[in-house]
């Protein structure tokens, strides 16, 4: 008997039920129903909540009124932190006028030598101050992972309340999952040496969020 058959036989014996077909229909209807558990009620505005949670996770946040203002905001952040003028960005972000802001950008996957990575996001989650990034040819995951500094562009209209709301949006707009759905909440961290928290474990040491849009 194969390992699969043997394990499933053991599981069936443990479960101790007949009618696999009927139980399968019940399971599939549970999948279709997508019941949600208790969710927080986000009292303040989604943008405010997202911003305060992101800052509490050691991200920095800037705001711009529209997309055209993004390259200048990025340049300002890089200059302020002495991070140079070169960046790798996800192809989804390539269309901005980066040269006008004095930045040299290349749209591709990141490599080890890249110090600054700029990405968009699929959406953002107010509850926890989290970015939701989808892998794809136009949004390679390495850009938010390998460089020491990750700058993410977050249109305020893409901020949703909870992880459940993000999944609903994902189903509505995409239908299927890409290879990687990455929820990113601030710079990487470790507490493995004497329980002391250090920012910048393997991923970025610095996460800067640029909120785009009309922020009341």
């Amino acid at each position: 008997m194969s390992a699969r058959e043997e394990i499933l036989a053991r599981v069936r014996a443990g479960v101790g039920k007949e009618d696999a077909a009927g139980r399968r229909i019940t399971a599939e209807s549970w999948l279709a129903a997508r019941h949600c558990g208790p969710q927080p009620v986000i009292g303040s505005s989604l943008v405010e909540r997202f911003r305060s949670k992101a800052e509490s996770l050691a991200s920095t946040v800037a705001t711009v009124v529209d997309l055209a203002a993004v390259p200048a905001a990025v340049a300002e952040f890089l200059a302020l932190n002495q991070l140079g003028t070169t960046a790798v960005l996800t192809p989804e972000c390539a269309a901005g006028d980066w040269a006008a802001a004095g930045l040299t950008v290349s749209a591709r996957s990141a490599v080890d030598a890249d110090l600054v990575g700029i990405s968009g996001c699929f959406c953002a989650i107010a509850e926890t101050g989290t970015l939701l990034l989808l892998s794809g040819e136009n949004s390679p995951a390495s850009v938010s992972l390998l460089p020491e500094t990750h700058i993410a562009l977050v249109p305020v209209g893409r901020i949703v309340a909870t992880m459940e709301a993000a999944f609903a949006l994902l189903r509505a707009e995409r239908g299927t999952l890409p290879r990687a759905v990455n929820f990113v909440s601030g710079p990487s961290r470790t507490g493995d040496i004497e329980q002391t928290i250090v920012l910048g474990a393997h991923g970025p040491c610095r996460v800067h969020l640029i909120l785009i849009g009309d922020i009341a």
Binding site: V15, C36, G37, P38, R108, L145, E164, S188, G191, G200
Partner: protein
């Protein structure tokens, strides 16, 4: 003897416990960590309350989700397998740890793998995977900082989420100096960022040069055929993004039905483990890189769909593995289904039970002798390696019940330990003296007049020994017990006498 029991040291718990209690460096590390662990979870729970969420309510929802999966695990496993396969991954099954090791080595050899980077996986400890890979000439590199430290030390992790909690900064420094080929330096806690930086740089080169990544899975999602991975360091993302091959090694019980169920569990797992409302990186990994080829801009770009999307440069290789394999592992799990211990399969490996356990913080994780320490280990080790091979563990409890209070999926850990003790007795696995004592007690307890007479004598005797102080310094009948502490005694009256006196009033 089952495969898992071969390498268990759980039978030496008693001897090891003595060593650990007398190890001052270990005791310092544990006493430093304990209040931090407890405080972090408290903060995590406070953040739930701030959002108007009730822990008890959330816990019962999570408990129901886990019970739903276990009640029809055969169906959920088949659903997961179908969907994972349809999404482009391969699904394999392993009966025990040895089979896991054999499958992983075979996959590595088939793909010409010479170096493997690993994200933390306790199941790979069950399988002694690193040993098997090394024996096959494949280099396994642990990339979670704590796992990296214990790998350098040639030790197993001593905690399921803080593997190097038993190591002092000085010990870490000695390991780094040797591995990284530099002189050893005097280090204080101010140097911890520099040490983490050093490990980052060394491990970055391993990430970039590995041919295969091995991860566990915090959960498997049946709906989408995905593995969910929760990390803070980002190593989980690295090992599942950069190498050509990704192998997920995980237990058959880790399933969740839907993404919504996952969202519920994610409100509990990080808070229970580290007190965070969410871990830095949470990834859902599905199929292979082929899923991303030809896909349009994933959802609206900052400007909305289409406005900003530019095609990739020619020749750009999409990221992610070419090959993804899930290895679904039994290793004793299926036997718990339908048994008195089924509740244990709800466990989501948060570590809260050990973080609140007085026994764990007296001994550290290594005393437990197998992969899992603390209360969950005291239940799992006997169940996975054989009750007769871990006789002391169910007794490694003060009966305080804190582990059950903090468990985010409501596992009645003290009752499960109690049941294991009963089973030891039923199977004649307790020492003859204990069995005899229990038999004598049962005989006496069945004779009320004799029982009252005897307990009266005992109460008077203890009172006489205490000599009015309320405590006994040295108790000849249990010298080990009073070697470290006094035995408190009641007021020289039996319960029956006190009860009768109370009634007369």
């Amino acid at each position: 003897m089952n495969a898992a029991a071969k390498h268990s040291q759980a039978m030496h718990f008693h001897a090891r416990a003595g060593e650990k209690v007398r190890n001052p460096a270990l005791q310092r590390a544990l006493q430093k960590a304990r209040p931090l662990f407890v405080g972090k979870r408290q903060k995590g729970l406070a953040s739930l309350a701030e959002d108007g969420l009730d822990f008890t309510n959330l816990r019962s929802t999570a408990e129901n989700i886990r019970n739903r999966v276990l009640a029809d695990l055969d169906v959920w496993l088949e659903l997961f397998e179908e969907r994972a396969t349809a999404s482009g991954a391969e699904v394999m099954w392993a009966r025990d740890g040895d089979e896991v090791a054999r499958l992983v080595v075979e996959i590595a050899q088939k793909h010409g793998v010479r170096k493997v980077t690993k994200s933390k996986s306790m199941l790979s400890e069950e399988a002694r995977l690193n040993e098997a890979l090394s024996a096959a000439g494949i280099r396994p590199v642990e990339t979670d900082l704590g796992e990296y430290i214990v790998q350098l030390a040639g030790e197993p992790p001593s905690h399921i989420i803080a593997p190097a909690v038993h190591k002092s900064i000085g010990e870490v420094e000695a390991l780094f100096a040797e591995e990284h080929g530099r002189p050893q330096q005097a280090r204080t806690s101010a140097d911890i960022p520099a040490m983490a930086r050093e490990a980052r740089e060394v491990l970055r080169q391993h990430f970039l040069s590995a041919d295969m990544g091995i991860s566990g899975a915090n959960f498997l999602i049946a709906e989408t055929g995905s593995a969910a991975l929760v990390t803070n360091e980002g190593n989980g993302r690295m090992v599942t993004t950069l190498p050509r091959v990704h192998v997920v090694v995980t237990g058959i019980e880790k399933l969740l039905p839907t993404l919504e169920d996952f969202a519920t569990l994610m409100r509990l797992l990080p808070r229970s483990a580290t007190g965070q409302s969410i871990s830095n990186y949470v990834s859902l990994l599905t199929g292979t890189r082929a899923r991303d080829v030809g896909a349009l801009t994933p959802g609206p770009s900052p400007a909305g769909r289409g406005e900003m999307g530019a095609p990739l440069h020619d020749g750009q290789v999409p990221e992610g593995p070419e090959k993804t394999v899930f290895i679904l592992v039994d290793n004793g799990r299926a036997n718990l289904l339908g048994s008195a211990y089924q509740d244990m399969l709800r466990c989501i490996r948060c570590g809260a039970c050990m973080n609140h356990c007085p026994v764990y913080f007296s001994l550290g994780g290594h005393a437990y002798g197998w992969v899992y320490p603390g209360p969950m280990g005291s239940v799992l080790t006997p169940l996975y390696t054989g009750i007769e091979n871990a006789l002391d563990l169910p007794h490694a409890s003060t009966g305080c019940g804190h582990c059950a209070d903090v468990c985010p999926v409501g596992i009645p850990l003290p009752s499960l330990m109690h049941r294991l003790k009963e089973e030891q007795l039923a199977r004649g696995l307790r020492p003859w003296s204990e069995r005899l004592a229990l038999r004598v007690w049962a005989w006496v307890a069945g004779r009320p007049r004799l029982y009252r007479w005897l307990t009266r004598r005992v109460a008077r005797y203890l009172d006489w020994l205490a000599d009015g102080t309320g405590r006994i310094r040295i108790f000849g009948l249990a010298p080990a017990w009073t070697a470290e502490r006094d035995l408190p005694v009641a007021a020289g009256k039996t319960f029956h006498e006190l009860y009768a006196a109370q009634k007369r009033k």
